[in-house]
Amino acid sequence: MKILVVDQEKCTGCRRCELACSFRHFKTYSLARARLHVVRDREPEGPEGPVVCTQCGLCQVACPVEGAIIRKAGIVLVTEKCDLTKCVQECIAACPFGVIHFDLKLNRMIKCDLCGGFPACVEACPWNVIQYIEAGTPYALNNKRVIEIRSKKVR
């Protein structure tokens, strides 16, 4: 299975990944509608990097609505059955990375769907910070550093 991994050292903070993500899914540009986020540890000097979904499935486990979040070929997807009247947004609380959130226009949660196997963020990054590779390769460990940053989230 392939997942997104991040080499935070190389990130310049340009946020082209977020732009590409919102455009791929909604044909508009909006940071708020992107499914990954570039975070910076401390302003202004801290290291920065994108936080991406690892398809861990904790949101799926937490979700009380039958069939609202499913796993299909390793990719965790939010379906049209997502209904906020039936839950207290357990998925948001469960996500360790803060990369599942509510979209006002769609009226349901959105999260990374890996663009069906050709992630827009990977194509958009000028510095190959985000890569789409087999899970378990040593390179994937780099995501850990971003998780540390995420705990002090300042976007």
Partner: protein, 634 residues
């Protein structure tokens, strides 16, 4: 609802009257947007219509526009810019300053194409703009703070850590005439005194945050056009184009080409700093940082870890700053530069004008025009880093001698008297930046005729074409192959090159994208296509250049209304004299006026430098044409 400006633009402008604290939302005007896009074009029209001529730039009658453009905040390469336009307190004429960071796009996501600030508040305020709304808040407790302190205070007060903050430092509050406007701690709309204009209006900061979106008219075609642009940029970067080493990375080559003004413009090369960039890179550089939407990342995060010039980690010096604080004042170390840049950043000073003023003080001291009595007992000798740091503090707080320097070189030279006005390097009151017009003669034309004064960035750094071989994608539009241009020639034909490059430079400030992306294969045709797809209009590369021409002439007309004529387009004598060292040794500027006359002919300006009513009418600027026609009759 404003249906036409739904795409590319977000369709709303925010008008804030600070005198009576009223906030008005108005539609982005379609008539202006179609004619002049956004950014400097939109602002030029608004200021032309709304400003009375000859007002004091620091009075409440002045207005300042903080603008974005149709491509800001989109995926277009270099879309992270915003533009401040106002009547400059330094030059008394048209002032514009472009800046990167993340603030501009965030303003659009917050629902506005731009902010018009008018009047002046009695008490310090800051503005909180979010999700299509705006509030004016008291900045009583923040006034007096440095830029980083201000940003932190504002962010914690509004409670939104993701908000982007624009602010001024103590220099802006004290109305230093070249105080800049900072965003995101380290990015500056530095030049021409925008910070002083905000200071005069008592606006300390503007925080923006929004979760809105920018719509694209033709998404499918846009995607294709964008991919082509991205490929073009990557190809250029892979073959050594652009600024992947930052602008400071071109320091050594500028030195080699005689393009590094040394000893207050005496020459264009200094042996002592031949390997300055290597020193910087090996010891002080921490990482590269990009603005929003950038594919190059020219920002250089750096730090001096210890010693008298220690600084925290911050967005370090770029080329202009480094050139100003080294060769221009014969100072040969990089550590004081990093410190000086840091101080300018936190106090809200323009690094170009600040370093220029310090070097000016040094040359006046050397020539005996000022003595220890004038300088508060300081020995203002060339190359002394400690004096340099002390003077920055003095300028920022307008203390003693710094109060004089804070007035800018034109006013300071007049007050010092004697030979000082002859030495002073400025056009229209704006201090010379650090590119030497002797190294590439089109730059002389650009310095002379730029609407903002002696400016390397507005409309454009033309010597990059003849000196460094950049073609800016302009070859299909009539630019000769840069390799075939003799950079020292003063043939009147240089005017055509200058005009083409300047028109294209003006376009970037109207689209409000980063000019550095013009260096990486993104010519007018590419940006025209992006603009067409984004807005749904149909615009070609030629039309885009015509828009540049239109804006340039409109801003010229603004200046003519303020009294600018041909005499103001002349270069300072000191920079025309032959350089004494390096590859430009013996090269002076001797034929400036014939190049200038040819430029006037191409622009259809008369012998006084006034644009022709016929051309203005042809460009669709009827009210401006009428004014000029009336002026010519009187």
């Amino acid at each position: 609802m404003n249906l036409v400006l739904r795409y590319g633009y977000v369709g709303k402008m925010l008008r804030v009257n600070l005198t009576d604290w009223t906030i008005k939302k108005e539609d982005t005007r379609e008539d202006i947007a179609k004619l002049l896009l956004g950014g400097n074009g939109y602002a030029a029209k608004v200021l032309w219509e709304e400003l009375k001529p000859k007002i004091d730039p620091l009075s409440p009658e002045n207005k300042i526009l903080l603008m974005t453009g149709p491509l800001t905040g989109t995926g277009a390469p270099g879309s992270g810019f915003w533009e401040a336009c106002f009547k400059s307190p330094l030059t008394g004429i048209w002032g514009e300053s472009a800046c990167g960071g993340w603030w501009g796009p965030m303003l659009k996501f917050a629902g506005f194409d731009g902010i018009i600030l008018e009047g002046a508040s009695k008490d310090p305020v800051y503005l909180w703009v979010h999700d299509g709304e705006a509030e004016i808040k008291s900045a009583e407790g923040i006034w007096g703070k440095t830029v980083p302190e201000t940003e932190e205070a504002v962010r914690s007060e509004i409670g939104v850590p993701q908000a982007r903050v624009l602010s001024i430092g103590p220099a802006g509050e004290k109305l230093v005439r070249f105080a800049g406007i900072a965003v995101d701690y380290e990015r500056y709309a530095g030049r021409k005194g925008g910070g002083a204009v905000l200071g005069s209006k008592k606006v300390k900061a503007i925080a923006v945050y929004g979760e809105g979106e920018i719509e694209i008219a033709k998404p499918r075609e846009w995607e294709k056009a964008l991919r082509e642009c991205e490929e073009a940029v990557k190809e250029s970067l892979a073959t050594g184009g652009g600024f992947v080493d930052g602008t400071i990375g071109s320091y050594d080559i500028c030195n080699e080409m005689g393009d590094l003004p040394t000893k207050y413009g005496e020459t264009g090369h200094w042996d002592e700093v031949a390997d300055l960039y290597d020193k910087f890179r090996s010891k002080y550089l921490i990482k590269n940082r990009a603005c929003f939407g950038c594919m190059q990342a020219c920002g250089r995060v750096s730090q001096v870890k210890e010693g008298p010039f220690a600084t925290p980690v911050y967005g370090g010096p770029e080329y202009e700053t480094t050139a100003g604080f080294t060769a221009f004042m014969l100072q040969k170390d990089i550590e004081p530069v990093i410190k000086a840049n840091y101080l300018c950043n936190i106090y809200g000073l323009d690094t170009i004008s600040t370093s220029h003023m310090i070097a000016f003080a040094m040359i006046c001291y050397e020539k005996g025009l000022i003595t220890k009595k004038d300088t508060d007992g300081l020995e203002v000798k060339f190359g002394d880093p400690d004096v340099m740091i002390k003077l920055i503090e003095k300028i920022a707080h307008r203390e003693g001698f710094g109060d004089l320097l804070a007035e800018g070189v034109r006013r300071a030279a007049e007050r010092i008297g004697g030979d000082a006005p002859k030495i002073a390097l400025h056009v229209k009151g704006l201090e010379m930046p650090y590119h030497d017009p002797r190294a590439g003669k089109t730059q002389a034309i650009a310095y002379g005729t730029s609407n903002t004064g002696m400016d390397h960035f507005h409309p454009h750094e033309t010597l990059d074409v003849e000196c460094y071989g950049a073609d800016l994608g302009l070859i299909p539009f009539g630019l000769p192959d840069p390799k075939t241009i003799d950079r020292f020639s003063e043939d009147p034909g240089k005017a055509r090159i200058a005009k083409l490059v300047m028109d294209y430079g003006t376009v970037a400030d109207a689209l409000v994208v980063c000019k550095f992306h013009q260096y990486v294969n993104l010519g007018p045709d590419k940006y025209a296509r992006l603009l067409s797809c984004a807005t749904g209009w149909d615009i070609s590369g030629e039309e885009l250049l015509e828009i540049g021409d239109r804006i340039f002439n409109l801003a010229r007309a603004f200046n003519v209304r303020e009294g600018i004529r041909k005499k103001d387009d002349m270069l300072p004598p000191r920079i025309m004299q032959p350089a004494t060292t390096g590859s430009t040794k013996g090269v002076g500027i001797t034929n400036y006026e014939s190049m200038l006359n040819e430029f006037y002919r191409l622009e259809e300006w008369d012998e006084n430098g006034i644009p022709s009513p016929g051309k203005l009418k042809r460009l669709g600027l009827n009210d401006v044409a009428e004014y000029v026609a009336k002026l010519k009759r009187s």
